[in-house]
Structures are given as structure tokens and as C-alpha cells.
């Protein structure tokens, strides 16, 4: 780690790790997988320095279940992995969502399905935003596109987790995890009110014993009741958290949408289009669950068409279609399997579609 007076220059994986520690994360469990190995490596020395705990788990399954225990004690806790490991965590994520335990899970996505490859991908969007594990639950999913934003969103992730007693996923990718860029290490400030953790397990001294569980057998209505309670919470999250960055959308005839690293690349193409006098804008979802629907609906008033770019065969595009209520055609540019677009290629697509929008 090179530190200037107020700049850090580290890989995204390390930026995220340091931000987590500064946000008060005191338990990390993980298992090696490329391209996120820097996270457990960094945590293995920084956690003990910060008075926290690092455990190299025997699997991603064990790591997420260690969080299940750690979170139950009230500790801010985190695990990270990449796609195949995130699949293995899904069982634990479902239990954590069911038991309403706060924690942060980072996915530095790589190519899939299966073992895939170790290059960057956005193929896990469905898994992250639509469920992944069993049962009717949601994660809060944050999609940073720069190392600076990764710093901030990692800190926010712990606050959102605590505020809503819900697991939060940082949905990055192999490029974000591996690239180094200067980051201003802004101090940790809670972004929201943090409720008292009056539900933790720490031994029942001076109070009635508590139970943390996801099992609701009796009475027969109990599980339906619990699901209603969870969904009322998800509605509050849908109300409170959707976030997107909008660039030059106000008068745009063509609106490009992308998240994470792809949005950064698409941003270059949109900039080029504007330079050439084309009315093109960009909507970059920062939260991908809850999905920021409002900017799309607004843009559909004047835009003739949308273009979604993803490092996949097309997943977020379904949410864009829903968000603009099918009022405009939504085109797609992207590819799966560990590929990334260039600004030039995206610009070519923009140029062709823009002709149709005139």
C-alpha cells in the first residue's frame, strides 16, 4: 500500500477491504478465488491490526455460515468471493436473509457458467438481484464503477445492512477488483440512522433468552406472516435506496444504460457522441436492487430508444424494459464469458442506433 498525504493507491480489492475496516468491519471470513484473492490476503494482516478477526474458511459455504454466527453477535462482518464461490454461498445467504442478519458480501464477478474463466464478467446479475438462493427474499445490491465509489459504497453497505437488517452485496467484477487507481480515503460517516442491535445473541444475562432462526413451523400462518414482514421491509428499501447517476439524459434521444465497469466504458462513448453533437445520455444504476426505475420512466418521455450494455448476454436489460414499461425499444450490446467492450465499439452501436432515433 502506497499512501500519499490524502490519497491511497491500491487495487480495487484492497480499496474495498480497507474501506470495510474503516467502516467498523471486525469479522472477515473468505476462501481464495481469482480475481478477488487480494481481499482475504489484505484482511489477513489488516484485520488483526484493527482488532478484528480473519478466518480463512474451508469453503465459501463455511465462510458465509461463519458470518451467520458473527453477525448474530452484532459484529459488522464481511465475506468476499467471485462467481463460483458466490454460488456456493447461496444457501447461507438465504438463511441470513430469512433470519434478517446484516452482513456484506462482495462478488468480484468472473466469467461463467461453471468454472468459466477468470476474466471480468457481469453474468451474475440475475443471481444477485433476483434471488440466487431459495425462497422469496432480496439482497440490497450495490454496483460501484470506480475505486473511489467502491470505497464509499463499501462503507454505505455496512450501514444499509444494519439499518435494514439485511444482507448487502457489492456487485463488482474482475476489472474493478484488479485495477489500481488513486482513491481519496474519505472518513467513515454513517449514511443513515443506525438502529440499536437489540436482537443480538451474547448470552441472556439480565434479559430473556433470544432465538435467531429462519424456521417458522407453527402456527401454520407463521411463515406467511414472516414473508409479509420481509416484503414490507423490501418495500421500504425500494422506497429509500434506489440510486442512479444520470449523465446528459435531459434532452437525450438515445439513452444508454450500463452499470459498474461497463458504465464507465459506456460513459466514454456517450461523451464522444455528445462531442459530435448527438443527443445521447447515460443512466448508470448504482443500486441494482432496488432497481432505480424512475429515471428510466422519465427518460422514456423524450428518448426514442434505449441501449443497454453489459458484460453478459443480457440480464439488466430485463429490468430496463420493465422500468421504462416497454414504452421504447431497448437494444442490447454485450457479450458473456469474460469479455469487455471498448468505448469505440459502444460508440459504433450508438451511431447506428442514433440514426434510427432522428
Amino acid at each position: 500500500m502506497k499512501t500519499g498525504t490524502e490519497k491511497l493507491f491500491m487495487k480495487g480489492n484492497e480499496v474495498m477491504s480497507e474501506a470495510a475496516i474503516r467502516a467498523g468491519c471486525r469479522f472477515f471470513a473468505g476462501y481464495p478465488i481469482t480475481p478477488q484473492n487480494e481481499v482475504p490476503e489484505y484482511m489477513s494482516h489488516r484485520m488483526p491490526e484493527a482488532g478484528g478477526i480473519f478466518v480463512q474458511a474451508e469453503s465459501e459455504l463455511a465462510a458465509i455460515n461463519m458470518l451467520f454466527g458473527a453477525s448474530a453477535t452484532g459484529a459488522r462482518c464481511m465475506t468476499s468471493s467471485s462467481s463460483p464461490g458466490i454460488s456456493l454461498k447461496q444457501e447461507g445467504i438465504s438463511y441470513i436473509a430469512g433470519a434478517e442478519l446484516p452482513c456484506v458480501i462482495a462478488n468480484m464477478q468472473r466469467g461463467g457458467p461453471g468454472l468459466g474463466n477468470i476474466r471480468a464478467s457481469q453474468g451474475d446479475y440475475f443471481q444477485a438481484t433476483k434471488g440466487g438462493g431459495h425462497g422469496d427474499y432480496h439482497l440490497i445490491v450495490l454496483a460501484p464503477s470506480t475505486c473511489q465509489e467502491l470505497w464509499t459504497l463499501t462503507m454505505n453497505a455496512f450501514d444499509y445492512a444494519d439499518r435494514f437488517r439485511n444482507p448487502v452485496m457489492i456487485l463488482g467484477d474482475g476489472i474493478l477488483g484488479q485495477m489500481a487507481e488513486p482513491v481519496e480515503p474519505t472518513p467513515y460517516e454513517p449514511v443513515c440512522e443506525l438502529p440499536d442491535k437489540d436482537w443480538i445473541l451474547d448470552g441472556c444475562k439480565g434479559r430473556e433468552p433470544r432465538v435467531i432462526r429462519s424456521l417458522y413451523l407453527r402456527p401454520a400462518e407463521a411463515l406467511a406472516e414472516h414473508n409479509r414482514h420481509l416484503h414490507a421491509k423490501y418495500d421500504r428499501i425500494r422506497h429509500a435506496l434506489p440510486r442512479a447517476e444520470e449523465i446528459a439524459v435531459d434532452d437525450a434521444r438515445l439513452v444508454v444504460s450500463a452499470y459498474g465497469m461497463t458504465a464507465r466504458i459506456a460513459g466514454g462513448a456517450v461523451h464522444e457522441a455528445r462531442r459530435r453533437g448527438m443527443k445521447v445520455g447515460l443512466i448508470r444504476p448504482i443500486t441494482v436492487w432496488p432497481f432505480p426505475e424512475e429515471p428510466f420512466l422519465r427518460a422514456a418521455e423524450h428518448a426514442r430508444q434505449f441501449l443497454v450494455c453489459e458484460m453478459s448476454e443480457g440480464q439488466m436489460i430485463e429490468d430496463v424494459r420493465l422500468a421504462c414499461q416497454y414504452r421504447r425499444p431497448v437494444a442490447f450490446y454485450g457479450q458473456g464469458g469474460g469479455w469487455y467492450p471498448t468505448p469505440e465499439k459502444i460508440f459504433e452501436r450508438i451511431a447506428v442506433l442514433y440514426e434510427e432515433c432522428r
Binding site: 471486525r26 469479522f27 471470513a29 478477526i53 478466518v55 474458511a57 474451508e58 469453503s59 459455504l61 463455511a62 465462510a63 455460515n65 461463519m66 458470518l67 451467520f68 454466527g69 458473527a70 453477525s71 448474530a72 453477535t73 452484532g74 459484529a75 462482518c77 444457501e91 447461507g92 438463511y95 433470519a99 445473541l201 451474547d202 448470552g203 441472556c204 444475562k205 439480565g206 433468552p209 433470544r210 432465538v211 435467531i212 432462526r213 429462519s214 424456521l215 413451523l217
Partner: protein
Amino acid sequence: MRFARPETLYDVPTHYCSGCGHGITHRLVAQAIDDLGVRERVIATAPVGCAVLMYDYFNCDVIECAHGRSPAAATGLKRCLPDRIVFTYQGDGDLAAIGTAETIHAANRGENITVVFINNAIYGMTGGQMAPTTMIDQVTTTTPHGRDARLQGPPIRVCELLSSLDGVAYLERVAVSTPRDVIQAGRAIKKAFQYQLDGKGFSLVEVLSMCPTDWKLPPVKAAEFVNEKMKRVFPLGVYKDKG
């Protein structure tokens, strides 16, 4: 052994079948916690298995874990709160099939937790299928002709398996099928908790336990099954004691 209800158990009827070993073992665990005076420091993990509802019976903090994952969850609990007393309570499917990796690695890391392991040689909750500890020739709903070593392998002996791991402080196999066995089981469980209190590392007590319902035996015959069949395959005794 005292006969009053231990404070660590609520005064409620349990859902366990008559003659089941879970009820006796609950009582022994609760008594050990009472005797050591640590109830208000205890965090228990409930398994997936017949004991999943143990949080309705134990008068202490309880977290109900995914099938087999208790040792990992207990790792998180204990590492965050090292001065609390953390124990897992697991059946043979939970501990020695789906959770084998979590068991072995928690043991090998020497996690300072206590494991109460109910070996009833069968899957109780799901209706009597083969367990990793089902014995050769034992009939279950998935070994209708008896367990065949050539097809299903022989039963796993957990204490023997774990005894090679340096992180383990204490391993003992006990039974709850005779009054004398019950007394020894109580001693072993208390000792396992004492080891945790003393910071000695991973302790596990394997309890040979009756499942009359899925063995399709009346309670008295089920106890005889433990004494005559199970104790031969799973000899009682101390398998490791770091002292």
C-alpha cells in the same frame, strides 16, 4: 444427579418420541450448564434434524443453523465473543454427512467450542433414511436390504476420525441407553464444557442415542439395540484427552 428440572431447560413438554435419546441428552446438557453456572453466557446452535426445535426447550440464547453448518456458525459466534460458551448440538446426518467439512475444519482449527453429537445411526427427522453412521446390515428406508459396505461403505466412526487432529482437545463416546451410561454421559458433557471454559480447544461428546420410531422398535428394545449392536461398532470411551 439431581432430579429437579435444570434451570437451563424450560418447563415445557418436548416433541420427542417416547424413548428417544434427544430428551435425555438435552437434560444432561442443561444440567452441565447449570452445574457450571454459565447459562447466561451460553449461545447454542440448533441443528437441522429432530432437535431443530431445541430453542423451544433450552432456556438460553439459541441460533438455528443450516443443515450441517453449525460448526462454522459456532466459529463466527465464538471468535466474536470468546468469553461466551458456545455449543453445537448435531445429529449424525448434520455432523457427519452434509456437515463433514465444517466439523473437521472447526475441529482442526481447534475452535474453542463444545459439540454434542447425537449418533442414532439414522436420519430421524426425515423418516428413517440411512445415516453415515448406519451399521452394516441395518435396514433403513433407503437401505431396504440393509446397509451393504460394497454399495454404501461402512459406517463412519466420528471420534476415531477426529482423534488424529491436533486441534482437538477432548473426544469421548458415551451412550444414554442404561442408567450407568447416562451418568457417564453427564460427566463427559460437563467435562467438555469445562474444557471450553478453560480455553483448551475443541471438545466433542458423541452420544449413542435411541431412535425407537425410525428403528421401528419399542423403547426398551431400542435401548437394547444400542447396548447390543451399536456399542460393538462404536465402542464407548475416551478417544482423546489433552488434559
